[in-house]
Amino acid sequence: MDLIWDGIREAFRILGTGDYSIWEITLRSLFISGSAVAISLVIGIAVGSLLAFNEFPGRNLAFTLVNTGMGLPPVVVGLLVAIMLWRSGPLGQLDLIYTPLAMIIAQTIIAAPIVTGFTAAALRSLSPRLRSQLYALGASRLQMLWLVLWEAKLPLLAAVMAGFGGAVSEIGASIMVGGNLAGETRVLTTAVVLEVSRGEFAPAIALSMVLLALIFAVNLILTTVQQQEQRS
């Protein structure tokens, strides 16, 4: 127990003084996972609206694929992306391995099916006549898409939060394609693993607290928006 209390006390000290580059690591986590989720949102809206609104042969198969993608183990994604990006791999020429961009790619592959699945479900749940009504009101295709997304904004927000939660908590893929390099590709989760393997519990606890606070803040936003919607 002493270990934990010492660790927590030391953790607060670290947070206060900014040792162990905690803030640099936190910002990087936000940047990498944030970018991954932003790209996933674009993909999610494009593919999700296609799936939700258009009938085409193989539609059910497409839905199944998206749902399968949601359940992909992140570490498997990491291994596949790493194999592609290693110098010995097909995309080695791009020199992307062990860079933040490689991590963004891996995290996007992990988050995109989640965001797409949620988006498609949210759009599907809207009344089918709504789109006709909006077109009838004179909406162009883009205007219609924007209005429909705004109508579904709550489930979309949930999708983004789910995607972000998945991306920012992810370790396996991030280490494999990022290499956990200090000052470059080290993020909150990979830093925790490193500090634990070194036996440095205080920074590990400090980093964990930041990670928890981040996830809490993100969920707080979602809940607040939901409450506002329900009140109006």
């Binding site: 290693w86 020429q93 020199d95 391995i97 933040p100 961009l101 924007w146 390099l181 470059e184």
Partner: protein
């Protein structure tokens, strides 16, 4: 309309990401090494100097020896710093690595709980200590991760004529040295560690050095280049610069002093230029 704004934001985000990635450009090498090396903090001391002197930034990928050498064998790294001599030799024979040079050594120690239930403290032979542990069925944690440490441990069991895998008192952590030491400390179990990592973490551990000094416990580090003739994309100049840096007189001095102020004794003994036979290796 709002669509244009969204498109701009996304494009900017994309550009930023690319810029961030591009920042990694310039002179860089990938160094495949082991977790124990990184965990001692030696590289944190040396690499900034290397950058200043040569201009190369080093991307340190710290994994088990097995994976580090596998990376070299695929051409996915530019230089390797490892401590698994027989496996390294295989790669030299294959032509995957060149310019292999002795850098430093330290030793392994057998550590365990202070109360030493198996009674191995002070033994001079590592194999004798391991045999005793097996007889007593005292808990033992192995790294089990194909690292240099692990290979040495397995060689010792082999020498003692024992097969501990699968027995109830023998567990494999599959992780780095730091984590394995933690597990042993929490469980009151024995393990083999390189002295460097043990010293670096000893304040957090409830383990003591029980057996040391046996030549069979020597831990020898070599540095080598991944062969640029054999693999495309390997940075031959960078790799060469790193090897030369590691065996240079200045670096060797730093290695020899490393750890003294913190632990009272150096973690490594600098060996560049010596003949292998001087160390008493088989």
């Amino acid at each position: 309309m709002t669509w244009r704004r969204i498109a701009i934001v996304v494009a900017l985000a994309g550009l930023l990401a690319l810029a961030a990635a591009a920042c990694g450009g310039g002179k860089e090498i990938i160094l495949a090494t082991t977790t124990s090396t990184q965990d001692t903090g030696l590289l944190d001391e040396l690499l900034p100097r290397f950058k200043e002197e040569s201009g190369y930034k080093v991307k340190v990928i710290a994994v088990g020896s097995g994976e580090a050498l596998a990376m070299a064998d695929r051409g996915d790294a530019d230089a390797v710093l490892a401590h698994a001599p027989s496996s390294e030799q295989e790669l030299v024979d294959k032509g995957s690595v060149v310019n292999r040079q002795l850098v430093m050594h330290n030793d392994f120690v057998i550590v365990g709980p202070a109360n030493d239930p198996a009674g191995i403290k002070g033994m001079e032979s590592a194999t004798e200590a391991l045999t005793t542990i097996a007889d007593q069925k005292a808990p033992f944690i192995s790294r089990g991760d194909d690292s240099g440490t692990n290979k040495l441990e397995l060689k010792l069991w082999d020498k003692a004529g024992l097969k501990p895998e699968g027995q109830s008192w023998y567990e494999q952590s599959g992780q780095g040295m730091g984590a394995t030491l933690q597990i042993a400390s929490q469980r009151g179990a024995y393990t083999i560690s390189d002295r460097g990592t043990y010293l670096a973490q000893s304040s957090n551990l409830q383990l003591e050095v029980l057996v040391e000094g046996d030549p069979a416990l020597l831990n020898v580090y070599h540095v080598m280049q991944v062969n640029p003739e054999r693999f495309d994309g390997v940075n031959g100049d960078g790799g060469k610069a790193f090897v030369e840096f590691m065996v240079s007189a200045d670096t060797q001095k730093i290695i020899g002093d490393f750890g003294v102020d913190k632990f009272g004794r150096p973690l490594f003994i600098a060996d560049a230029g010596k003949a292998e036979s001087e160390l008493g290796l088989e």
